[in-house]
């Protein structure tokens, strides 16, 4: 793509999200979402083939539906409160519709069906933008309307997402689908604590974005999209296998890596609010996620996966240089001792 045009489109995506995050008028927020959606379609379709077209179409249809539902909720809110300012949602119906719309944008169950299919159809870099940047805008709206969200619906969606994210990823070998299901599960964790302490949602979002960014960068560096091709990294860049191991264990939420921090804080917040069975259930279901991360580490770093003989003597002529990878890896694995610094997020 022409670099100038690509830059313009990318800036539009950024601008759309920024408009969503910084507006106080509901209409501007809707406009921001639409801008974001329209601009990201060409980015999703960077490679022009039927698979990408299908993925982009699915993405467009679901997100447009969600935007329309959001508009309806905004109008109902306008009807009941008479103003467009985003403070709290004045009508329970509007709140439920808005929550569903935002859940559709985020990919929470029962609206999660588009996430694996869209993520699989696009290139790794576009998938990266899809799973990290695109979550910021809906999450910021959820943060702002969090006092008026119906707790039952949100918690149901959150727990179901963790379940679906765990179970759905079990049968996958395609890395992008694995990351999609991991994203569904993490979104579940984030929305579970939204009503109790939105700060922790933001913390989880931050750490999730760091870890997903790291994972995608490691995949991009070895240009691997399946478990099989990832298992050849021991031959190309052996250090990457260790980094993949550490990052995957961090995503699974194993102490002492930084992926444990959001889970711990969320469990603490939920327990302080006297719900004890819920965090136990959520924590145990996160183990399903850990299972397929472990499977990935088994094939990549902890064993020498069976491969044909000419795979063992691969020549690589140009090594991709990924900027920011070392700091990302450090941040996504070693942040746990910095937990007391959470207070800066308030």
């Amino acid at each position: 793509m022409n670099p100038l045009i690509f830059t313009t489109i990318l800036m539009t995506v950024l601008l759309g999200t920024m408009i969503v995050m910084m507006s106080s008028h509901w209409l501007m927020i809707w406009i921001g979402f639409e801008m974001n959606l329209l601009a990201i379609i060409p980015i999703l379709m960077k490679k022009y083939n039927p698979r990408t077209m299908e993925a982009s179409t699915k993405y467009f249809l679901t997100q447009a539906t969600a935007s329309m539902l959001l508009m309806m909720a905004i109008i109902i809110n306008l009807m009941h409160s008479g103003q467009w300012t985003i403070t709290k949602v004045f009508n329970p119906t509007a709140s439920i519709i808005m929550t569903s719309a935002l859940a559709m944008k985020l990919g929470l169950t029962p609206f999660h069906f588009w996430v694996p299919e869209v993520t699989q159809g696009i290139s790794l870099t576009s998938g990266l933008i899809l799973l990290t940047w695109q979550k910021l805008a809906p999450m910021s709206i959820l943060y702002q309307i969090s006092p008026s969200i119906n707790l039952n619906i949100l918690l149901t969606m959150a727990v179901l997402s963790i379940l679906v994210g765990g179970w759905g990823g079990l049968n996958q070998t395609q890395l992008r689908k694995i990351m999609a299901y991991s994203s569904i599960a993490h979104m579940g964790w984030m929305t579970a604590v939204l009503v109790y302490s939105p700060t922790l949602t933001m913390l989880n979002m931050l750490i999730y974005i760091m870890m997903t960014l790291t994972m995608f960068m490691l995949f991009i560096q070895s240009s691997s999209t399946t478990t099989l091709s990832l298992s050849h990294t021991w031959n190309k860049t052996p250090l990457t296998t260790t980094l993949i191991l550490i990052t995957l264990l961090s995503m699974g939420g194993l102490p002492p890596l930084s992926g444990f921090m959001p889970k711990w804080m969320i469990i603490q917040e939920l327990t302080k609010n006297s719900s004890i069975i819920l965090p136990t259930l959520m924590a145990i279901m996160a183990l399903l996620n850990l299972y397929f991360y472990m499977r990935l580490t088994y094939s990549t770093s902890l064993t020498m996966f069976p491969s044909t003989n000419n795979m063992k003597m691969k020549w690589q002529f140009e090594t991709k240089q990924i900027t920011l990878l070392p700091p990302l890896i450090v941040m996504s694995s070693l942040l746990l001792p910095l937990t007391p610094m959470l207070s800066i997020l308030d």
Binding site: L254, P255, P256, I267, T271, T280, L290, T303
Partner: protein
């Protein structure tokens, strides 16, 4: 306590910066020096703990375990030299780094004051152990073993996290030193029963309790020698240590909640001992014997009398040294014949007489011969369980008999009789191996002269 932790962390740069012919020498020497530092902690002046800071403390229960942990690192390094000799340098350094990381986490776990910090480090010990088992194990079953190990432990310990946080909400602080003083009885309710279960299950899985022990034979058998040593000697004791710490907070539910676990342990120790009699795999035999000894520790901890606590602590230390030594001996067989089948390498006394002496000593301590500390541990546990309920003496007596039976079975099968014709070309024992066994046995024998340092805080 930092005087032990920082040198252990510094062992990692030492490994990476050492020259090729110095890595084993450097790491073994410095880890031996660190273990000398930890010996000073054994001087516990009173029943109260030695508090070094807000975060680390050492008390008559954790000091012997700490000394055992630091003592074991040089032994693990000595034991691993042979099977790593053919690996490239970076992999050797990675292996030593994993061991050192595990050591650091273990030291911090045993000396943690805050229970959540204990939990995080308890879980943190899983990661290096998993990597050691799955990366450096020898058979394809090691993958399954790693998964079983990880998931059994995590399933047990996630409810523990929730329970610890809810106790923190209830009492305000989880600092162990404070809890000893303002401990109140837990009110009687269903949710406190679940709290008791949540707190104890993590340690039950780790010990392991008889019904949840499935991960242990897999993990012990598939791990390389250092992995087996650290698993048997220390990681199981983490469960015992955790139980000893957390039962102080869980009265009075323990009086009735302990029954199912007591039954499982009493029955389980006989079952696992009996299975040992029918094992063909040497490492599997030692693994099941670990389950059986730890079942005794579970019984002791759940009875909660002063003598039983003394027995539990002594048994943990004694079993740590004995089990680790047995694994080293089994490994010396494995390195020569590359098979764990017992009958494949028998009659070794004729070929390796000094090693046979070590086998004899190890088997004798395993069956708790007087005056070894194994006997002190088992005797105290048997006596306190007898006073708790007279009938248990039958089961305990049966267990001691069966333990003697399988220990002698193992000894006689591997050492006595005519040697098989295909082992007459094995290499003689290395000095390193003899040193290893001596370093295991000497503390064991010397402790029988002054067992009060390992008798824990109820002495």
């Amino acid at each position: 306590m930092l005087k032990i932790i920082i040198p252990t962390i510094m062992l990692m740069p030492l490994t990476w910066l050492s020259k090729k012919n110095m890595i084993w020498i450097n790491t073994t020497t410095y880890s031996l020096l660190i273990s000398l530092i930890s010996l000073s902690l054994l001087n516990q002046p009173s029943n109260n703990s030695l508090n070094f800071s807000l975060m680390f403390f050492s008390d008559p229960l954790s000091a012997p375990l700490l000394v055992l942990t630091t003592w074991l690192l040089p032994l693990m390094l000595m034991a691993s030299q042979h099977h790593l000799s053919k690996e490239p340098l970076i992999r050797k350094k990675l292996y030593i780094t994993m061991l050192t990381m595990l050591q650091t986490f273990l030291i911090m776990t045993f000396t943690a004051t805050e229970l959540i910090s204990f939990y995080i480090l308890f879980e943190a010990t899983l990661v290096p152990t998993l990597i050691i088992i799955t990366r450096w194990g020898n058979q394809t079953e090691r993958l399954n073993a790693g998964l079983y190990f990880l998931f059994y432990t995590l399933m047990g310990s996630l409810p523990l996290l929730v329970a610890l946080i809810s106790i923190q909400n209830l009492t305000g602080s989880l600092n162990f030193l404070l809890i000893q003083y303002w401990n109140q009885a837990l009110p009687d309710s269903w949710s406190n029963i679940f709290l008791w279960l949540a707190c104890m299950m993590a340690f039950m899985v780790k010990m392991p309790l008889y019904g949840l022990h499935l991960w242990l034979p897999k993990a012990h058998v598939e791990a390389p020698i250092a992995g087996s040593m650290v698993l048997a000697a220390i990681l199981l004791k983490l469960g015992g240590y955790g139980m000893l710490r957390i039962t102080t907070m869980l009265n009075p539910q323990t009086s009735f909640m302990a029954y199912p676990f007591l039954m499982l342990s009493l029955w389980g120790m006989i079952m696992t001992s009996s299975i040992c009699l029918r094992q063909t795999d040497l490492k599997s035999l030692i693994a099941y014997s670990s389950v059986s000894h730890m079942a005794l520790v579970i019984v002791a901890v759940l009875i909660q009398t002063p003598w039983s606590y003394m027995g539990a602590t002594a048994l943990m230390i004694a079993h740590g040294l004995t089990s680790s030594m047995l694994f080293c001996l089994a490994n010396s067989n494995y390195e020569r014949t590359h098979s764990r089948t017992m009958i494949l390498a028998r009659g070794l006394q004729t070929l390796l007489p000094l090693m046979a002496a070590w086998w004899l000593l190890a088997s004798l301590t395993n069956l708790a011969l007087p005056p070894s500390i194994n006997l002190i541990g088992e005797l105290f546990v048997v006596m306190s369980s007898f006073s708790w309920s007279n009938i248990t003496i039958i089961l305990m007596g049966a267990n001691i008999t069966i333990t003697a039976l399988y220990s002698l079975y193992m000894l006689i099968t591997t050492q006595r009789g005519k040697y098989t014709h295909h082992v007459n070309s094995i290499k003689p024992s290395f000095t390193r191996e003899n040193a290893l066994m001596a370093l295991h046995m000497t503390p064991l024998l010397l402790l029988s002269l002054n067992p009060k340092i390992i008798l824990g805080f109820t002495y």
